[in-house]
């Protein structure tokens, strides 16, 4: 079971490599990837250095080109595929069928992974990408219970990568327009959820308000932490009650079920968070490395150490973690 870690810049890449990542995933500095944030991601020189550093340490490098180009921007995605291929990266993580078609035609030997943004939640959907584009791995959305993941892995034509830790998308990835509904820009068409340029924080007599393109997402009182105004983690009123109608700020943490993921044959555990700091990447990578090693050494007696849980909770949204959809009761 491989550990796949995020790197939004060169220091994060080194942090992931130094702390035991089997692979790191990165993106280019534009809207061709799903973490299109100002100041984040890699230019050519940084990729060159990052690849060299990773290779010296035996770590593989994947490049995410996992947003959806409109017709007018398609050539930018082609160029991203070409750049990644020319750098000789270990895999390209793609979501769009057109981009996959191009990559397969232009670079027949390139190793393709289906991104979580491809929204493939069943073995039949994955079979489509395997048959049409010869993908070698699929990353699955955070919507299946552990039992359903097991069934999918058993029937999937390719190895499956699952999310292990990080911010939790509660909607099917690649199928969520909440951000674009409010701002015009979302994960699919812009590479970011709730883009920072639309975010406003405002002290008011009623409390600190967070708004996204003027829509009130949350209001917190003194002593409460105001989270980033992601729509699905806001507080709203439903049937006369105000609360987290969709989900509270929380992060996914699979340490408690790591032995199960190992047993059912997950090929890789993915850590979310290319937008996070190098210190964050270092700490999460270190904990997950220790946990995966313990799990693989003795899966029958694996249990997450309290210290690991504490460390990961301190890095989580709202200092809370959840098993998310892996656990039926969450659903």
């Amino acid at each position: 079971m491989e550990l796949v870690c995020p790197a939004g810049n060169l220091p994060s890449l080194k942090a992931a490599v130094n702390n035991g990542a089997d692979a790191v995933y990165i993106g280019f500095r534009d809207d061709t990837n799903a973490r299109h944030f100002a100041g984040l991601n890699f230019n050519d020189k940084q990729i060159d250095k990052g690849l060299q550093y990773a290779r010296e340490h035996g770590t593989r490098v994947f490049v995410a080109v996992n947003t959806y180009p409109y017709p007018s921007g398609f050539s930018r995605w082609q160029q991203a595929v070409d750049r990644a291929a020319e750098f000789g990266v270990d895999a390209l993580i793609l979501a769009d069928i057109g981009v996959m078609d191009y990559a397969r035609e232009r670079w027949p030997d390139l190793n393709l992974h289906l991104s979580v943004q491809g929204s493939a939640t069943s073995h039949e959907a994955i079979r489509f990408y395997a048959e049409q584009f010869d993908i070698k791995r699929a990353v699955i959305p955070r919507v299946l219970s552990l039992k359903q993941v097991e069934t999918l892995i058993n029937k999937s034509p390719v190895p499956i990568e699952v999310f292990g830790f990080g911010s939790l998308c509660v909607m099917v990835e690649g199928r969520c327009y909440l951000s674009s509904y409010v701002t015009g820009q979302g994960p699919n068409n812009f590479g970011a959820c709730s883009p920072a340029s639309f975010v406003r924080w405002e002290e008011t007599p009623a409390g600190l308000e967070t708004r996204l393109n003027d829509v009130l997402i949350d209001r917190v009182g003194k002593g409460e932490n105001a989270g980033y105004p992601t729509i699905c983690k806001g507080r709203f009123e439903v049937m006369g009650r105000t609360g987290y109608a969709i989900e509270a700020p929380t992060s996914l943490n699979t340490l408690p079920i790591l032995a199960d993921l190992h047993r059912i044959g997950a090929a890789a555990i993915k850590i979310e968070g290319r937008q996070r700091s190098p210190a964050y990447v270092a700490q999460v990578t270190r904990v997950m490395r220790a946990a995966i090693d313990a799990c693989q050494r003795d899966p029958d007696n694996y249990a997450p150490q309290q210290d690991w849980m504490t460390q990961l909770a301190s890095l989580s949204e709202g200092s809370q973690t959840t098993l998310g959809a892996y656990e039926r009761t969450w659903q």
């Binding site: 039949e124 068409n189 049937m239 969709i246």
Partner: protein, 303 residues
Amino acid sequence: MNTQATQAKRLSLGPVLYFWTEDQLREFYNMVADSPVDVVYLGETICSKRRSLNVDGWLELADMLQQAGKEVVLSTLSLVEADSELGLMRRLCENDHFRVEANDMAAVQMLAGNAEFIGGPTLNIYNTRTLNNLNNLGLKRWVMPVEQSRDTLNDFRQDMADGIEVEVFAWGRLPLAFSARCYTARNHNLPKDDCGFRCLDDPDGMLLNTREDDAFLVLNGIQTQSASTMNLVRELDSPDVDIFRISPQSRHTDHIIQIYHKCLQGEMAIDDAVTVLESLMPTGPCDGYWYGQAGMAAGCNAA
């Protein structure tokens, strides 16, 4: 080269996105049989636990509507989680009377190379290369994802393959997201596995307001929709669209179909239609996506 729509423009009725009882569904589709829609999409696309009708029940309705002169399409589930759902999907995909609207790549996989199909609005078709690729596998009609604009559609038209029909989501609360979690059950403090089918209480979904009392979203089981209703009646003369989709709501759908039909026939002034249609929306209007803006924006092309 397919530069513009050729046939007369048609109206379609999308699948019912809410959980209605069998009686409600039968009454609704009896109305539809006598209405001037050309195409009717049938089936449960949101939650496989909703079984007011089983597959045979849907097929029976499909026959009835076909005899009434409608083109009938069977719509598949949008989010597939369990293997049992794939079994039902396969039955739909392998039926030999009606075309199928694929709302997930699993359905595309079942249909590809076997039957002509319609690409539903939840397939991620964002560029011509993707569309043409699926056309080679049997896609004959494309329902554009709701977040795409008229300019994007026009770009598609420049080099999309011949013979693909374009349908747009013209009327209704916009489908915005899907989740493993059932928000209806969550807001009733019930587990999804023991939900009591409370979504039957909300035939147009459950309203979610901001803390400033603005109607914002609608929770429909595992689906999240816009509270505002998309209305593209001003765009019926768009040269790039073949079919305009009306998404069913529990009240006034017959009236909405009539108004769209009259506008298409040139029998009603668009401004008058807008006034009446806005009075038939559960909450307010929106049309931003079509004009390349935030989806919630409204009145982007007001006369």
